[in-house]
């Protein structure tokens, strides 16, 4: 059977994990690295580079390289106008429409960029399973995590990204809840838990009650625009000032401040921009950012009807919780030392894998009961929002509202769906506009159209409507305010196959180059052999060394071309040319060993 995985699609880094023998495991590359930087770079020839390679290209080709794209998911052009200035890539899009990110000549929506990252994770998992000797190593189903405070549009965008990447998204789950699942595994605890999740771009706080294996979220709060990125921008501002720089310079500074930030997590001082930079200075600078997390913490506690002292355990999630100031603040608020036994970068992916396992195996040991983070409502007279499903309602949840007609024989009603806590339409998030059609002709005020809102276990909304007098099901045309239509997602999935080909070609090219470099290195080593002069004189044919050197020079010439076949041809030629030399050296080594001399002396 094909494999299921859990994916943490992060602002800064992404990970993929799976469950083996009942325990979740992060899937790593050959060097043991589990993190895939959420960076996507599109080269001039259309090849797409994801992860570490994408990250390297930030320093050489910044304008063609996208990072922190999670911040743009489910957003409209107007939402990101201010923020877009911080990024080297082009941010555009039609007024009132979804954001578009320009990399070179091409434009991508945020779900398409995220799909590149998901495809990379999918590939990583498939390679891993193939290496494990699995017969069916296909990875086509996944649980993907999102910040708990993501709204409907952001969740839908994440699900769309999964579909574009060719994944069936089994479930969208909230990051702090996923983390609690991972923590709940080895400790059968019962009690009240607070999960404080400060990641690269978002902040979440969730309060849970855990009992009998049921993880029930009581409340959640957060800020989808608060995280390590904001700290980096603060630090960058102190260095860059108003001076104009190239995009690549800005990225170099960005990487330097990130390094300094990491250093100060376990040191009292570091060097930044050629001067001493102390933890005290750092903390003074970032204190306002850290303090912005406290309001949501208090609100979540209030919504759960709890005092900080009632919380039994506090769990830290997200790379930014490595910052000592963050830990101190959390400890102050709750009056207890927070947990950080599990790697804060990995715990969300582990929990997602556990949830994926629950879904496909029917394992009933644990159950997650999550909530919807924001109230759902509809526009009523005077631009006021009437709430239908309150925030922190356990999901799935439903609600309904009755509509009628204002004029005789009116056959359609416009409905505007919003998410948020504010009174006025303008202060809330517009999710969608619906037109209810097919209302049978009748006098004004007679129609009774019941609109049913259903939030599923993913926190995603669907709407159905029925005219109760005639029992006629209404047609609903959904126009997501900042999302993609099904047709658009379908088209992007098709487009992605083209990219997949380009990606494949790019990967083959990189592999070809790596192989060529390995052969060149081995050849150089042979030519530098301490006994080489004797070997050449005694055992090599005349001109054999010159032949090897000229083939190696030829391979070096083609190494940076984009023609994989030529590189491969020259690599084989060098292999052939050095085969005799390699045998000679091998024989000498063996002889030396047999005659009692150590290999090192040869």
């Amino acid at each position: 059977m094909s494999k299921v995985v859990g994916i943490d699609l992060g602002t800064t880094n992404s990970l993929v994990a799976y469950v083996e023998d009942g325990a979740p495991v992060v899937i790593r590359d050959k060097s043991g690295d589990g993190l895939v930087p959420s960076v996507v770079s599109v080269a001039e020839d259309g090849a797409v580079y994801v992860g570490r390679e994408g990250q390297r290209r930030l320093l050489t080709d910044a304008q063609r390289t996208a990072y922190s794209v999670k911040r743009f998911m489910g957003k409209g052009r107007e939402d990101v106008r201010h923020e877009a200035e911080h990024f080297p890539f082009r941010v555009s899009g039609e007024a009132g429409g979804v954001v578009r990110i320009g990399l070179g000549q091409k434009e991508f929506t945020p779900p398409e960029i995220s799909a590149f990252i998901l495809r990379e994770l999918k590939r990583r998992a498939e390679d891993f399973f193939a290496e494990q000797g699995e017969l069916d190593n296909d990875v086509d189903r996944a649980v993907i995590t999102v910040p708990a405070y993501f709204n409907d549009a952001q969740r839908t965008a994440t699900r769309d990204a999964g579909r574009i990447a060719g994944l069936e998204v089994l479930r969208i789950i909230n990051e702090p809840t996923a983390a609690s699942l991972a923590y709940g595994l080895d400790k059968r605890h019962t009690g009240l838990i607070a999960v404080y999740d400060l990641g690269g771009g978002t902040f979440d706080i969730s309060i849970l009650r855990v009992e009998d294996g049921v993880f029930q979220v009581l409340s959640t709060n957060g800020d989808t625009h608060l995280g390590g990125d904001d700290i980096d921008v603060l630090l960058m501002d102190t260095i860059l000032g108003d001076r104009a720089r190239t995009a690549e310079d800005v990225q170099a500074v960005r990487q330097a401040v990130i390094q300094a930030k990491w250093d100060l997590s376990d040191r009292d001082e570091t060097m930044l921009n050629g001067r001493r930079f102390t933890r005290a200075e750092f903390e003074a600078l970032i204190a306002p950012v850290v303090d912005r997390t406290i309001g949501p913490v208090r609100q979540a506690l209030a919504d759960a009807g709890l005092e900080p002292s009632q919380i039994d355990e506090v769990v830290l999630v997200g790379g930014s919780t490595r910052i000592p100031l963050v830990r101190r603040r959390v400890e102050e608020v709750f009056g207890k030392t927070p947990h950080s036994e599990l790697n804060p970068d990995e715990v969300v992916a582990l929990g997602a894998a556990v949830q994926a396992d629950i879904l496909v195996t029917g394992n009933r040991e644990m159950l997650l009961l999550d909530v919807t983070p924001l109230s759902l409502g509809i526009e009523t007279m005077g631009g006021v929002v009437s709430k239908i499903i309150m925030r922190n309602s356990t999901i799935p949840a439903s609600g309904s509202e009755m509509f009628t007609t204002a004029v005789d024989n009116q056959n359609a009603v416009d409905i505007h769906v919003l998410q948020g806590e504010r009174e006025l339409v303008a202060d809330n998030r517009s999710l969608a506009r619906f037109k209810l059609r097919g209302i049978p002709p009748m006098p004004a005020g007679m129609a009774r159209v019941q609109v049913q809102f259903q939030i599923d276990a993913n926190g995603i909304l669907s709407v159905t409507a029925r005219e109760l007098r005639t029992d006629v099901e209404q047609t609903i045309e959904v126009k997501p305010s900042y999302g993609l239509t099904d047709e658009e997602v379908e088209r992007m999935l098709l487009d992605s196959f083209e990219h997949a080909e380009a990606d494949f070609a790019a990967r083959m090219l990189i592999e070809g180059r790596n192989e060529a470099e390995a052969v060149i290195q081995a050849t150089e080593k042979s030519l530098r052999h301490p006994d080489f002069a004797a070997i050449e004189k005694e055992e090599l044919a005349p001109g054999e060394r010159q032949k090897i050197e000229s083939v190696m020079a030829g391979l070096r010439m083609v190494l940076n071309s984009k023609d994989r076949e030529t590189i491969q041809k020259w690599t084989h030629a060098l292999n052939d040319a050095t085969q005799h030399l390699a045998e000679v050296i091998m024989n000498r080594t063996v002889k030396a060993a047999l005659s009692g001399r150590s290999v090192d002396d040869v």
Binding site: L170, V360, L368, L369, T394, S398, Q454, A457
Partner: protein, 231 residues
Amino acid sequence: MASSTTPTLQVCRECGGGAPIDAHFCPQCTKILSLGRHGDYFSFLGLPRKLNVDPAELERRLRDLSRQFHPDYFYNASPGERRASLERSSYLNDAYRTLKNPVARVEYLLEIEGLAAKGPQEASKAVPAALLEEVFALNEELDEIRDERAGGAPPEAWKARLERARVPIDAKREAHEADLTALSKRWDALVDAGASDAQRRPILEALRDRILERNYINNLLAGIQRELDGA
């Protein structure tokens, strides 16, 4: 909703068999029942129609029933069963949320007993008779405070006055909470005693009046809060 007309059976869409109205799974084919005909929130959760609900018991029932029909456990089931699981779970969560809140619980009881208040807008228009005196006094006071503010009085002066103005309203609210508690106890005793509809009716009507007044008082307090915040 007289008990004689309340349906007691539902039909299983999988096998066509009959099942008790409060069953969640078909006794014949054991499949999850789609949410067609169903009981009210109390009976759905297996609770008596009483106003004092033990919070721990409510939580336990939410967990137990979630473990029976949460969508997580129907991922591999047929589309019909998946839909049934989604609808049944939604109804469970709505029931839990409503019955967890003591005031929402009373409002829900009034609704299923056929005494629903006619919506918050209507409730807030007419001043309940029991509140006429307080409301009249408060409105007069608010008018004077507004004049004072318009006349440029320092915030400390009119804010303190505003705070004083809400004292009698707060007191009224507390009296109402006590009233609601006492009425709830009487309702539960009648349920336990199996009292007739005629005996229950006066208690329900008293509960409805208290709820309407309570909503009115809350609107008043919210109005005062807005004046304070709008400073």
